[in-house]
Amino acid sequence: MTVKISNRIDSLENLKEKANEFKRQLDDSVVISICSGTGCMAYSSDVIYCGLQKEIEKSSSKTAKKIILKRTGCHGYCERGPIVVIYPQEICYLGVREKDIPEIVEKTIKGEIVESLLYKDEEGNPIVKETDIPFYKFQKRIILSNNSKIDPQSIDDYIRIGGYQSLAKATSQMSPEEVLQEVKKANLRGRGGGGFPAGVKWETTKNAPGEPKYVIVNADEGDPGAYMDRSILEGNPHSILEGLVIGAFAIGSNKGFVYVRQEYPQAVKNIKKAIGQAKEYGFLGKNILNSGFDFDVEIHRGAGAFVSGESSALTAAIEGNVGEPRLKYIRTAVSGLWGRPTNLNNVETWANVPLIIKNGADWFKSIGTKNSSGTKIFSLVGKVNNTGLVEVPMGITIRDIIYKIGGGIKGNKEFKAVQTGGPSGGVIPEQLLDLPVDFDELTKAGSMMGSGGMIVMDESDCMVNVAHYFLKFSADESCGKCVPCREGLRQMIYIYERIMEGKGREEDLILLADLSLLLKEASLCALGTTAPNIVLTTLKYFKEEYEAHIYYNICPAKVCVPLISYVIDENKCAGCGICVKACPVDAIRGESKKPHIIDSEICIKCGSCIEVCPEKYSAIEKKTGLVLEKAKQKKETEGGVDLSK
């Protein structure tokens, strides 16, 4: 005997009816959607939400207009958060603060616009619509655009924008084989970094002998500086679930896992809620949409290991063992979880599936390049004016992303390099900025697209320091099983530390090259084989910086602490003494109203003094190349040139 659940949806027609019903509920109303992604939350967008709520309640007696307030996921323009968008006009307010609340509510009721919160272009002209703002205009937001329209904790919202209709179409009008062929035709490649064609992987899993088959969502986004998957998990979890069920239907799997990292508590919460709601509506569980297909999904939380995102490590973690990569030469698609065929894909890959089924493979292929179809979400961060999440069609040049969308380098400094692919990727210098973004082009240049991190660096970033940072990250996250990765990274870090202290030797560059080759060829897993990419690319494109560190003990970007000193310009210093108080180690001395001096022996170079020195004086600066006695002697015996800046 089946108990009819009141919310359960049985067919595509039923679903479309519900969608229209929800759309109608929004007629004659204005929707205020406020971004509650983590970036905006850090700017207290939750406080603004509560304030808006109160203000709307207060004003509800004064107007007949229906105002609906929604908390949405990440809108992407994180530099200018918190962001509020008014629908249906798509009016976009940036940098909203608590004090703006009464004006927003008042003007929205009247149907007017708060000019001061609008985006202004270079000439000062205001831009009203979200999609006209340059940051958004040059993107192609097929996945992210929905974030601003729905409340991620409401399945009704997702249905309203057409959610789950692809699933209904697949289960009622297509066979599993047809679904698979469609995805294969669309040439959807894995968005987690591997770029392997998802359709081919699905096919291998489907054809591999063994039951039951499993499907996994890899939401273990471990790249530092990348938060694309997080914004999809927090902002539109149902899209991932829908893609997962479609994939399971195509492959013939009845059980799925979502592996989320524990460091994303909001994402865990939202996906958990989404699964509960999907079950209630009949999109998960038994006899989905009356198709006879059963599917269930379980959440598995990660616990703080980047290496667990690797596919063999992830399957080990789900099985209850330590999340270390395993030595196996049989693909996970053939033998994965508990030895059964398992298909593992990244969050963004799954999120693309419903769109492919809805609009067709040809539509998907029309976006992007010949070998890489569709879009890719990047987290554009670092020294750009517009930091945030950008979704662009494959084939756009890096220059366009940084300058057209990113708005150029912050503070009008000089561009130096852009780091892509996280710890597995490398740097791309200025001369390669016109490379199109696509899986194969970036790999040819020595870097890789990876999961989508894009960190822009300017002249004040030291490439040696950046390489050291990534090596330390890889060493910290390495599982430590195989000798080349563990010991090789350890030795490389020793060499870098020597170079950064001014004790580098000429042979260090050869040692680094040898070690990089060793790691690339002999490591057990992809963490080890890709960790040297940063070393190889920085050596290739920025050799002069290494040479400056080694031969002249200068850090051109003035970053490496042992090679710089903080110096007070006695012509500019007014002796105000503010820096003396700020210094945590009492390294600054001087009489009142007379120029002060920083004792370089005590100075720990924390930067507190530069921050507090009043702008009118700007008397403290960083210098490099001022060598200590010992280093001078060393160079004299080795015959190097002593350059002081």
Partner: protein
């Protein structure tokens, strides 16, 4: 050495190792195939009684398949029909040379490492020496886990901070049966001095 009758029932593959044509049972690894035919591939973390681990990376060989070549760990790679194996190609030698140099910085006293060092004419190492000596091959852990089934030794930590230790470090639990076979199996001969000999859990603790 498997029973001759068993051999007859297994599927056979034909492969070439170092120019030598050999016939191998399906399911054997490349290392086993080499051993059975008298070809020596250096190993440190391999033991017949336990599953391959892949930590030492000394057993890497070059496999040519369908005109593409790749570097694999022979202790775990299952033989396939028609592959060509090079245990000492130029690439493999280069890798092994750098690996041995890395090992020399860790623990130079293992006979296999010494032999390889002589072969590649390495008198010292350019790398900074570590006083750790444990190469984390995991033989002690795996042996205690899979053969003795006591689980008295385990890994702790991750990456550079990974160590081998008796679990738990106080002797409340009597996992260890004091067979001391872990001492014999350690390739660097250092276990358990880096842990401290007296840490063998005592029943009388």
């Amino acid at each position: 050495m498997s029973n001759k009758k068993e051999n007859l029932n297994k599927i056979k593959f034909n492969i070439i190792i170092d120019g030598q044509k050999v016939e191998i049972n399906e399911g054997d690894t490349v290392l086993q195939a080499a051993k059975k035919n008298g070809i020596h591939i250096p190993t440190l973390c391999y033991h017949e009684k336990i599953k391959p681990h892949g930590a030492c990376r000394l057993c890497l060989v070059e496999i040519e398949k369908n005109s593409r070549s790749k570097i694999v760990a022979s202790c775990a790679y299952p033989v396939e029909d028609g592959i060509i194996v090079h245990t000492e190609s130029q690439k493999v030698e280069q890798i092994r040379k750098n690996l041995v140099e890395l090992y020399l910085a860790l623990f130079p006293f293992n006979p296999e490492i010494k032999r390889l060092a002589k072969k590649y004419k390495l008198s010292g190492t350019r790398f900074k020496k570590e006083n750790n000596y444990c190469i984390l091959c995991g033989l002690c852990v795996r042996y205690c886990r899979e053969v003795k089934k006591n689980n008295a030794i385990g890994f702790v930590g991750r990456g550079i901070n990974k160590k081998v230790t008796f679990i738990p470090d106080s002797a409340y639990f009597k996992y260890c049966e004091n067979c001391m076979e872990c001492v014999d199996i350690c390739p660097t001969g250092v276990f358990p001095s880096n842990y401290g000999m007296e840490r063998f859990p005592q029943i009388s603790d």
